[in-house]
Symmetry: C3
Subunit: 265 residues, 3 copies
């Protein structure tokens, strides 16, 4: 296994700037819990979100989008059909797409099967926590809900294997984020534990990945940039008053990137 | 074409006050992304929101509501049926209703067809951006997602024609809002560009229109009042820290109307 | 009728502390309007929310959850099936569960029927406003939407009867909350009227009840604790700037419990 390269803040700047200038249109088929937060986070970083979910609409819409996000957090039969149609169309039309396989595992075989069917349309990036990556790679994980009990280090081998098997990028995020294409590995420390106590930060990170890879030549660095942005915004966000203020301040800080970072470093 | 009349703040006050005293019940069938924000905005201005969406329930509920909002942002087959049933019942029971035809256009023929079917039940108000109004009027627009690239001036002719054709009020909103019944045109400038960077501000404005027209004799002025309220709240809202704080402060300012306006003028 | 006992702050402390240490997994099948707010409130008090709604998934998931919340606010045919499957499984597997019968009443017979079918699976707690409790007990109520016009005092007899009939706990909440198992009645005054002007505070309170009763021996005190937490957080929350800030500050205060209470008393 190659050793991880520490991602540098300077590598993120051109990608952050490009999103603001290009305002990519991000087609989101995501879970009901986080649709509002995801849209606001995409707007904050300069992208243009659009939640289009009807099976009659997803195929034509994905062809005009700059990238696609599929998140199976609250998947059910009807939405799974829209997801599969959209993923297939994205692959056929060379629209980059991101899979967030929320809560796959032995307790939830329905979504785990959907996730594997989606993998057949080869996402450009899989963004997940350690437990989900272990599950997709066929390993044991200790998770029950959406929170991972496993460290990202424990999932790194699985991430590398998944990346090779599906010729994709895998971002396994947690206390340290690892982003790999199966060969190079970027590592990003930092962030804040408060991120785990606001719903949708992981889901929104996957949406940010979709925004960053839209039109990017180096999708590995683009994915790492999204991870870096979330960690950095969490570090800069106000943690003085409680979780409500933190969530609002996280959005504030994302909306100020990259200006607030360059000032601080 | 008649020239536009500049809407005056003083015209808004009685309508704002009346919503607070009458607390109208607003039946909302809106998109999944903005349901929470919409409900909070309606509560902030003094109305009582109720999201009732089952096809088994919409008809009986609309008859006890003071007005109805239909927003097709995340429409799919099942919800389109609820929307059509509700719109038909609203027309039959003389319950005023507002149509927000989110993202209609050539890329999305499914919802565009639904929007035209809804128009047959003659909404009291259509609240939309320029691209959507151009589409409904059969003109070309440059939009792909939910953001309009067209100016409201470019859509004013279409708005007038739509208003005449469907004997309705059209509010086409953007940098300048135009509100017309096909004869009189009110214009409202102001607001803030930050409104375009928080999801659901347009959708929530449509809900505010539904609240303002409930029981109002002059629905044109009532609609203009809703547009004025959103622009004014955006002007008063805190724009110092970023988009998270702005969205919270927008709700704050809406919840203080009209007291915060009369103080400031 | 037994007279009500005033709930004491000291009774809440061990329950609040236990949620933070045990981080119970709360399976939520709730309405679309409040999913995000509910998840954030559960995270704020130390619980782990999971919104799993597919009929293919609810049964297996409820067996690994520590408790279940069912809220019928935006119920429709497909979700009603998931709710019934989950409630049945919860009863069979002895997973405690909470019913929030949003807006039951004569205007909405579909959901009222679903609520009665759910009652057959005997929830551990019913958390509702006065109008909903009156409806479930077969009395007349004056409500049309989700807001209750009836006082909790007027619903106390109905609450006691419901509690006996279904061998359950009933929490009827409003200006004064009453929590009863049909024999003992706890009363909690306080809170703030602003709670009625932020969407989802009642729905989220039901989710908090689910979190508090998970693994609790004394479910009556656990339920009262949840009610106390919401009222206390509302009292401590910032009401100086408007409803947007209030909602954020409510989350802040919930995330600081119980430390912020013991300091203040």
């Amino acid at each position: 296994m190659s050793s991880a390269i520490v991602f540098q803040a300077a590598q993120a700047t051109p990608f952050m700037t490009r999103v603001r200038s290009q305002k990519p249109l991000i087609h989101c088929i995501t879970n009901q819990v986080v649709q509002n937060f995801t849209a606001n986070i995409l707007l904050a970083i300069g992208a243009s979100p659009a939640m289009v979910i009807a099976r009659e609409e997803v195929q034509s819409f994905v062809t005009v989008a700059n990238s696609l996000l599929i998140n199976i957090g609250t998947v059910y039969q009807a939405t799974s059909e829209s997801m599969l149609l959209a993923a297939q169309q994205a692959r056929e039309s060379n629209v980059p797409w991101v899979l967030d396989p929320v809560a796959v595992g032995t307790v939830l075989p329905f979504r785990t099967r959907i996730a594997h069917e989606l993998l057949a349309f080869r996402p450009d990036v899989i963004r997940a926590n350690a437990a989900e990556i272990l599950t997709l790679a066929g390993e044991q994980s200790s998770a029950k809900g959406t929170d991972s009990q496993d460290s990202t280090e424990a999932a790194l081998d699985s991430a590398l294997r998944l990346a090779e098997q599906y010729q994709t990028i895998v971002a396994v995020t947690g206390e340290t984020d690892y982003i790999t294409d199966g060969k190079t590995i970027y590592a990003i420390k930092g962030g804040d534990v408060a991120l785990t106590r606001v719903t949708g930060t992981g889901c929104s990170l996957s949406a940010m990945v979709a925004a960053l890879i839209a039109g990017a030549e180096d999708k590995l660095l683009a994915t790492a940039t999204a991870c870096y942005m979330m960690k950095k915004a969490a570090e800069l966000a106000n943690k003085q008053f409680g979780l409500g203020t933190f969530a609002v301040s996280l959005l504030d800080q994302l909306s100020l990137l990259p200006a607030n970072v360059s000032q601080g470093e």
